[in-house]
Subunit: 393 residues, 2 copies
């Protein structure tokens, strides 16, 4: 196991009606002039936004609303938020939405206290030194942004998707009410589930030996998702199934299951070019990319793939031919994704094989490699996109 620091100071407030605590929580963490940042109209229509602002009013707080965050959130909207924060002396951002909303709230939070362009921090490794405090009211279990310090946003000019991260961007609190997901369409629910499972797999496929505890914790999240996801697709208002997925989504990405081990984020990187170019859902892109990546890199450590096949997918171990077990596990994953309604190839996603050179170019590997479980050069990535293009059950 590798050395590590783990720090997750977010207060998670989980359960029915917890959004009504938003006001007292903002106050507890020092907010007085609040930017309420939300995504789609559904937060308004469902009455959620009203309950949140009522709660802010009961706590005696001033607030300004900023709606209209899109999936794969854009820099233009973020710049609007930053301008409001500076103009109105905002001292707390309350993000009401999913990963796109929370990720762009984090971008606003760091941009509001920075004189230059917030984009300076994305894809550059430039360390964040200051940021406004943020809180979240989560509406979809997926990105894990409610418990992480990470943020991924898209630059409209060229549709480049880039990320940043800092402990300063970890939410002070996150309100998790599983019932807020009752109205979530099956497709978005499945996209979220895929993202959660991908967050675990990106940690699971490691070159670090002797990581039993985090292996087992990763497997725990995967087993939960395999059981609970079909239940919510079938029965969207199943509170307990939604609740199990919601906590799984947070634990999957606050890194408690991923510490002390090398991680591999190449599937996420390879996918980001798909959702950047086609504006498709990130989870749907992952459903196409991740099993393809697995097939391509499987030989790097067949026994690790066999382990997950047996422990998570319930495959029989083929002791004479572990590669068969490994392959059976990847097949089980792709079948699972198909069964919950996810695309499994380019055609189903709406991507085009002829764009592969462009996708590879945008990823910006050049003559180098992307490090990870298996280092990948431009040719490797091309082949992964090709496997993804043609995948079938």
């Amino acid at each position: 196991m590798n050395s590590f620091n783990f720090y997750s100071p977010t207060e998670f407030v989980f359960g029915q009606d917890t959004e009504n605590q938003s006001g007292s929580l903002v106050k507890k963490y020092g907010g007085s002039r609040v930017l309420v940042h939300y995504g789609s109209g559904s937060a308004v229509r469902s009455g959620l936004l009203g309950r949140v602002t009522d709660s802010l009013e009961r706590a005696g707080l001033t607030y300004i609303l900023l709606g209209g965050v899109q999936p794969n959130p854009r820099d233009t909207k973020i710049r609007e938020g930053i301008a409001i924060c500076k103009q109105e002396n905002i001292d707390f951002i309350l993000s009401v939405g999913g990963g796109s909303c929370i990720d762009s709230s984090k971008a606003i939070a760091l941009g509001a206290l920075y004189d230059g362009d917030f984009w300076d921090f994305y894809g550059t490794g430039k360390p964040v030194e200051r940021a406004l405090p943020i809180g979240t009211v989560l509406t979809i279990a997926a990105a894990g942004s409610e418990g992480s310090g990470a943020s991924v946003v898209t630059k409209e000019d060229g549709m480049e998707k880039r990320d940043t991260g800092s402990d300063l961007l970890r939410p002070k609190f996150s309100v998790l009410n599983p019932a807020l997901m009752f109205t979530l369409p099956a497709y978005q629910t499945a996209c979220g589930a895929t993202d959660i499972m991908a967050h675990v797999f990106e940690r699971y496929f490691t070159t670090t030996p002797e990581v039993e505890v985090t292996d087992r914790l990763c497997e725990a999240i995967l087993l939960t998702m395999i059981k609970e996801t079909p239940r919510v697709i079938e029965d969207p208002c199943n509170y307990d199934a939604r609740a199990n997925i919601m906590w799984a989504g947070t634990v999957a990405h606050n890194d408690i299951v991923g510490v002390g081990r090398a991680q591999d984020w190449n599937s996420h990187g390879i996918e980001h070019e798909l959702s950047g170019l086609y504006d498709c859902a990130h989870g749907a892109g992952l459903a196409v990319v991740m099993p393809a990546w697995m097939e391509y890199v499987m030989d790097t450590d067949v026994m690790r793939f066999a382990q997950v096949a047996v422990r998570v997918w319930g495959c029989e171990m083929d002791y004479a031919h572990p590669e068969n077990t490994a392959r059976a596990g990847i097949r089980a994953f792709r079948t699972f994704l198909h069964n919950i309604g996810m695309p499994i190839n380019f055609a189903e996603l709406g991507a085009k094989e002829e764009d592969i050179p462009l996708l590879v170019e945008k990823l910006g590997i050049g003559d180098g490699v992307r490090n990870g479980f298996r280092p990948l050069n431009a040719e490797d990535v091309t082949r992964i996109y090709q496997i993804a293009a043609h995948a079938s059950l």
Copy 2:
């Protein structure tokens, strides 16, 4: 799943040589005049205490040493620590040791900022309102106190063992260096492992339905302990096995695997009277009590016991007679404890059957019941002690 709040703001600094960061960590969290509170002479002999104080000196901090914490830590030593804090204007407590040391550091931390007797907070539910900040350098994976807000201490007069808890008592940071456990004798290693597993079981046996995610996370910790504990008993200097156990011990008790579900702490309560009366190791007492408790309460939810037997102990499911599977799981647990060198009955622990009435009386149930997975009255507890007294493989 039940509603819950989860808040674990401790910074965990994990790996080789991390104790050399003690000084900078104390400084980061605002300490300037430090009480260094440590347990046995082994911290001195091993050179650990010297490395910690060197680190404090490098950070320019003033410190006072207070050693001699005993297992089942006593109020007299705690009062000594409180007096020093008040006299010397201590503003940070650095606890170098295991659970007993950290638990009594927490008692000192709350007592130092309280005008009355610190014992007012123990076993009474009186809320902690202020406490000095503490940090820890952990020397044994066991109690999980390095990541929790709980504290258990013993009153010498009558040897009463009582607890308190508050988020204010959560350490600001905890330094976890698995190599510090290389010199730990096999018996103490096994006691620690038993305590860790008990912390998980106390959460696992719940009356809350639909808690798949935390069930799976609990099982992950148990599976890790089953694999790694025999390895460190065999090979005490196996860094990776020690590391897996150390992180398992922290995750087992910071409650991320126990949120949203009713928990049962009766085995801990029943054990505390044993270690209170006989001054035996808490883990050893748990090894005697917990399987006995399981046998006694098994009928409350046979399928839950069958689930853990299959998923954790690898038993075959007897679909016609699930109670056989449940029993096989409990037997596997007791055999595991025996194999790592733990006592499994009163004789092996050094306890006496004729003391059972006294143990029950000290537990203070009276005519009431202790709530939990199965509510227990005085007669139930008597029978559990009797099973424990006579247990065999």
